[in-house]
Symmetry: D2
Subunit: 302 residues, 4 copies
């Protein structure tokens, strides 16, 4: 990382923090082979539709997962600011290829997930996930999964009613991560089969404060943080680059052809998505904290 602006003698100056990471690890040659024959599951075809013939095919351009290095850099700054409020974010793998981690306590997740090779808080599930990845690697195929993000100690009332809900902005930020196809909060899609009596989280007094007995709301009511842990899950689709021949169209000839996508392939990006989910949660939360005046000391005068 090269810091281009905004830092002087170890402190931010008020100027924009501009951090530069150069994308040097690129093989342009391999992409020439697929020019005009869009890879299934990739953005080649839509980029052609949007930008015509001049778009940069190298490495998938801005559609590549490499773009997330910027998210993580922003997240690192956001987490420093959130730290002044005592807010922490944490993401862990809860599903790879259909192998699900058993539900764990917050304490277990914080203790286990960061050190696990797949960022999974359930060691037994992690082993099965690892075996599945090895199997699928043999077949040249790829795997999806689910990452769960948690934010703790968020003050009550972050978010805006109506348009800029906390769920809406978190979801928008998570869908900016390539391969995310679904986002749910708290009980998520399970709410469809729940009754109001089961879904409503009763309020209790605990340690002199108000909490809820359950957290089906995932820490968000009416689009605003409730003070309970924010719980969000994002589904990651299987990596579209696979080592198996696939059907596509030669666009200039409008003929159906078969391609095998060249280049390196990731079998499963789910564990690598976890820090990106953390970064995006931190960025959204710090934006709302600044907007609500919850971080006024950051802007105080000498």
């Amino acid at each position: 990382v090269e810091i281009l602006s905004g830092l002087y003698r170890g402190h931010t100056t008020g100027a924009p923090l501009c951090l530069l990471v150069r994308n040097t690890n690129v093989e342009s040659r391999s992409y020439d082979e697929i020019d005009g024959r869009p890879r299934p599951g990739h953005a080649d075809y839509v980029a052609l539709g949007k930008y015509g013939g001049f778009n940069d095919p190298r490495g998938g351009g801005r559609f590549s997962g490499r773009i997330t290095v910027g998210y993580v850099m922003a997240g690192a700054v956001a987490r420093k600011l959130l730290g002044t409020l005592g807010v922490t974010v944490l993401a862990h793998t809860v599903d790879i290829g259909g192998v699900k981690a058993a539900p764990q306590s917050l304490e277990t997740i914080r203790a286990q997930a960061p050190g696990d090779p797949l960022r999974c808080a359930d060691p037994e599930a992690s082993l099965r996930m690892a075996r599945l990845i090895q199997e699928v690697k043999q077949s040249g195929d790829s795997l999806g999964g689910v990452v769960e993000g948690i934010a703790l100690n968020v003050p009550v009332g972050l978010g805006e009613p109506v348009m800029d809900t906390l769920e809406g902005d978190l979801a928008k930020a998570l869908f900016a991560i390539p391969a995310v196809k679904a986002v749910e909060f708290g009980a998520g899609f399970a709410v469809a089969a729940m009754r109001g009596t089961a879904n409503n989280d009763p309020f209790l007094v605990q340690d002199g404060g108000v909490v809820t007995a359950t957290n089906n709301a995932g820490g968000i009511l009416g689009g605003l943080s409730s003070g309970m842990p924010i719980i969000v899950r994002a589904a990651i689709k299987p990596t579209p680059s696979i080592a198996v021949p696939q059907k596509t169209v030669n666009i200039s000839k409008m003929q159906e052809v078969s391609i095998t996508v060249p280049g390196r392939h990731d079998i499963c990006i789910v564990p690598r998505a976890a820090p990106v989910v953390e970064a995006m949660m931190a960025v959204v939360l710090v934006d709302f904290a600044l907007r609500s005046g919850a971080l006024p000391h950051l802007m105080k005068r000498r």
Copy 2:
């Protein structure tokens, strides 16, 4: 509806279209009973946290589902504009309280859903949903469900890479609908258990154009529309207002108390959410269409 500005002799003038619907059907009395005792599942508690003691409790204020009348008005305008591109949007009920509609063809959905009392394209499921609603009504409880939104004939390339993805903006718009807790596109959360070979949608030539054989992507690749139908599902939580006593906290005394929420209760708002989903999809799509120059004739000079 009163049209305050932007229309003159049947045409828009270029001034903002301002449409006013007054919220006249309010019983303020009933809300006094719950002042300071936040209703579980409602925004009362977070509004208190955000705004202090001056927030307007009448009808839930901006947290009420009534706010969606504005969305539907905006959607009506957006659909007129989308019509000039041939784009249509349609939403239908696919789940109420765990009763799921069987998958239907696009033709069946278009034919059946609009006339069904529950906006469901599967008549048999619709009957079971209706029975479930009656049952739950007896018990004073409430039901959630899932609405699926479909946009047809969307040009290739709407959406922006990186931050303003089509998924992200659609999701943000859907989370602005009160009670939405989850949003998924195409195969959605099911991608977690799919392999790349199954999830990637192969490209084909059909009627002289490029289509995909399947639509697991829900019409969106790389955050941009692919030309295939856009498919999005939103989970709606059970209505939090129920006629059953619930636990909460008397905030000023910090004592746990029981309340029974007064006022009218909707057992299930899922069918009523469908037109709101359509409206929000239309608004997002027309914004991107304008942004991409796909609607330039709207701005042409005489």
Copy 3:
């Protein structure tokens, strides 16, 4: 004024304050006479170019000075917020038709201008301005002038470097007032003929604080408030509606014709622009105060 939202029992609720003033005093008939024959100095011609034939000609639509009632309403709210910081804004007439007010002390301006019929702090000049207005009224002509706006007690550091300078946002806000054609701060255009030794304002210690001996900068250095009074002047062009025949073009026939603009004519709107200048200054200053965290108590929790 009808308050549509945002107030409950005398306090703001956090919802948008929506204030409605209906434009009832309109004679549509008189505008039919000039349809297709744009009035010189008015926006008729550019509105035709921008919106084609459907624009609303009644009263000039959004190009009319009537639009400023909204500015003044926003300004009233902004001034209440600024009051919590001790900031005040004041505008007065310094020139009508070339009759200039003699420079006055701040004390005199505050004492004299608000009660003067032309908002002028120099009583003798005010009399000559009034006589000039009477003369010009006889001839059916109109007069321009200059309004000076002053903001006192502005904290140091409001504004943003580079793009969102305090001068830039104040100027943009003032140019939103119809008929404003020029904006200058402090010494303004006179800086062109000044040397650096004369234009630079030396810093001094006064009453334990830092002030400048002169205020050629008009209270703004580097785009940020310096703590000295903010001084801005806006030139108002003569009202374009005059009771004298003028040359224009019949657009549909592309023929030069003569028109006499019907309807009521204001000889000079300069004194009426003063409260609008105050409102716009207040709105910009409160925006920057919120942005800088100078008003955190407005957002505090209970």
Copy 4:
């Protein structure tokens, strides 16, 4: 200039064009001498007020005129886009230190100004300006002036009524240029002494189109472009860095002291501001052209 993104094989790709110029020509040592003793006319004092003690004093940071290299880079791109509409922008020096250029025809300005060492279209005035600069240089003092910007062939109707007027956005962009203290359009401050009969520009038919006989409006009516040349003038204050002792305050001791500003001094930056004015005009005009759909071909599909 290093192009970091957005270009591939000579064409833009749709990704952001990111251009990097490193600020290498900095002497940090000389600024240490003035730390805590703000230079009159500079942003040192307000930066201290806004950012506290950590701001970067090197070269004035973002308050330095060096920031305008970014404006000129953006302007270069904007001018390429405007070129597809036939729009050109041109700025020239009309006043240095009170020496005014005689009014010239558009043809003379286009022929003379670009080649003149002071960007002045009046050769005789240019010589007197040059002599004045030499004189002032001897005394260690500095000079201000006025730059006039002209945009030709602008389509009718660019700009937005009410808030985003063309004057407002041009003025905001010009006030982003360090040292600009005043902006006027067309007749500018002279409108104060004009009658409506003189200020209103009569419409005429010329070469089959509609023009105005005069251009007191500076090409802008009702905040929108009229099709006539856009004429704007910006006053540039004398460079605040002078080689003459000045009074200031030692902030930590709150004592009045005398400083002589170290480093290189520009006697007069007016001619160097002209290309920056051109750049800012181009950026604003291309933004409005895109917003109005006047440049739809830029976004068309293959």
